[in-house]
Amino acid sequence: MRSRSIWLVVALSMVVAACSPAAVDTTTTAQPAATTTAGPAESTTTGAEPMVCEATIGFLGPITGPVAFIGEVQLNWFNYALDTFNAEMGYQIDFVEGDTQFDTAQAATLAAQFLDSDVVAAVGPAGSDQVDAAGVVFEAGDPNFTFISPSSTRSGITAKFTGMFRTVPTDDDQGPTTADFLIAQGAQKVFLVDDQSSYSTGLAASVVENLEAGNVEVITESVTQDITDFSALVSTIPDDTDFVYLPWQVAANGQIFANQMAEQGKTATIFGSDGMDSGDFTAAGSYIAAFAPDIAGVPGSVSLLEGFLAEYPDTNTFGPPVFAAARVILDAIGRVCASGQVPDRANVQAEVRNTDLADSILGSPISFTSDGDLAEGRFFIFQIEEDGTKTLVG
């Protein structure tokens, strides 16, 4: 009996041990310690001893879960930014990664864990709901903790949190951009289907408002993210509909919707929001909005893209804003070190706030408003070609 009890305790301990650290995976970059002498410190701090610039930054993203295709690319770009920065500067910046699983509770838990660690700033979370959940924890625990979301577009969210910034434009930019484009294309009737997430309903509301202001008739419907049969809904699309607008986060569902439209002979053109911008949605002739340009077309970013693709298998538009966010934090840490200080949450946030990049991987300047939004944010519109490639059209 006693033996069984001991085994039970051992088994429980193993379960607890296996579960506890799983959410946060501490990883040290492979940079050898001998190369951590800081170049910039020597150049800006006259007569100072060569110093070691050390800090730990975090990554919060949906590495697993329903949108793991986003998290995987985001994590790869984060690693790429860190590795290239450490290699360029000779710094030793470590990182901690946290898997939000696109779940708000998990995001809040990870935020608390980051606050309890020596992480000075983080990239992420990806989704606005997760940003909201983590932001409350960061704000209550330490407003000096900086977190830069590379894909949260909900309007007004940065104003709620002292330490929040983002490297993507907002729904206030996407809604009018989308509506203006549809109106310019001659849209008279638009069939809009939200996916019942807060991202989707918020964006849908903005697009509806702007379309109706332009005297476009809008029919609104709603589905959940976990269904894959839209045929009954597709049947209700009026034949004189010009566009079907899908502000969705699961691009594969958009492709199914397109297939079922084709099956029923519906000829309206699909316009997908930035959440549909992935290789899973390839309906030729459709449009998608993206919060970042195709960086293959940004002259200064081509070599970065080539370097990334030499190490990682694939990318999409969710990646480059992560690189931009990571570099904002890393550059801020670099400036802190260059001024002879030890990076902490307060001085890193102050330097992030001072960010003023004339150019970036996104092909546009990066500086922030007092709330933390991009000072010059804009959305891009692509059309999908027959071969699946995208052409910038707006």
Partner: protein, 305 residues
């Protein structure tokens, strides 16, 4: 009329899948009085088995064998995989608890469901996969039903489901094993005393029910396209609802319930709004249970007093 016909075809397609899934819930409940909550995941693994065959044979764009061979092999692989998982669940997750309290196997079923979901996450990753069936069978192919054209894949799904349900009904009613299943379903102890091998009957029930779920998984992959590791949850919930509406434990009831849920979803979306789809479906469940607690074709449970 055209619109009504289109929604009827939509509902029939979806209802056929729900009916196949609901049969598994109903058959297992019939012999074990167990709600097999892992049944949705068995269906999910069937979908992935079919996808595996499709991939191995070149994918939808570059098949190395004729399309009909691929589709048959996909169904076979799904049936074998799902049956193996179903029988394994019965052997290791349910049988040891058969004489335990009624709640124990229920909890075990929920645990098995999560275990299978997590296993699928590790095996197939969180990324959804797509059968890309329009490349297998073009959207232009199909049959003309009045004013509408029905895609050949939908025809395949509806006909396959109908044939399987007819075969199952004949098998249960006209074979010795079918009679044994009915006997165990009616009174397990009495059937055992009459020489029926109850363990074998239960294994056969899991085998058949899981195979049907596997077929349902491939059908969903073919007609709707996207498969992912969490796909079994909602489909399982709807199929379970179908089984309860039809009368859990009743094979014709499961078929009827599945079709009813499919039609309810299609007509709700078509004539009311997609927003209220789940509201109507589960409202239907509550209404049926209030009016006929044992379901439409279920028989009231007799209790000795």
């Amino acid at each position: 009329m055209e619109f009504f016909l289109q929604q009827t075809v939509n509902g029939l397609t979806l209802g056929s899948v729900y009916a196949l899934l609901a049969l598994g819930y109903s058959m297992v409940y019939g012999v074990l009085k167990l709600l097999n909550f892992a049944h949705g995941e068995v269906y999910m693994f069937g979908a992935f088995a079919g996808y595996g065959v499709l991939t191995v044979l070149g994918g939808p764009s570059a098949l190395v064998v004729p399309v009909w061979v691929v589709i048959v092999l996909m169904f076979v692989a799904a049936m074998v995989t799902s049956s193996a998982i179903g029988v394994t669940l019965e052997r290791f997750a349910y049988r040891p608890l058969r004489t335990s309290t009624r709640i124990a196997p229920l909890i075990s079923a929920i645990g098995a469901s999560f275990f299978l979901q997590a296993s699928a996450l590790l095996l197939f990753t969180a990324n959804s996969q797509t059968y890309d069936a329009p490349r297998l069978i073009t959207l232009e192919s199909g049959i003309q039903v009045g004013p509408i054209r029905v895609w050949m894949v939908r025809v395949l799904v509806i006909v396959t489901a109908a044939v399987l349900m007819i075969l199952l009904t004949l098998w249960v009613n006209r074979t010795l094993t079918g009679k044994a299943i009915r006997a165990v379903s009616f009174d397990r102890e009495a059937a055992a005393m009459m020489g029926v091998d109850v363990d074998k009957v239960i294994v056969v029930t899991f085998l058949i029910g899981s195979a049907l779920a596997g077929v349902g998984g491939v059908m969903v992959g073919l007609v709707f396209g996207r498969i992912f590791h969490l796909m079994g949850f909602v489909a399982g919930l709807k199929a379970f609802t179908a089984a309860v509406v039809g009368g859990i434990g009743s094979i014709p009831g499961a078929m009827l319930g599945g079709l009813l849920i499919g039609f309810a979803e299609a007509y709700t979306t078509g004539y009311i709004s997609s927003t209220f789809q789940n509201l109507i479906v589960f409202g239907l469940l509550i209404a049926v249970l209030l009016l006929r607690p044992s379901g439409l074709l279920g028989r009231p449970e007799l209790v000795k007093v």
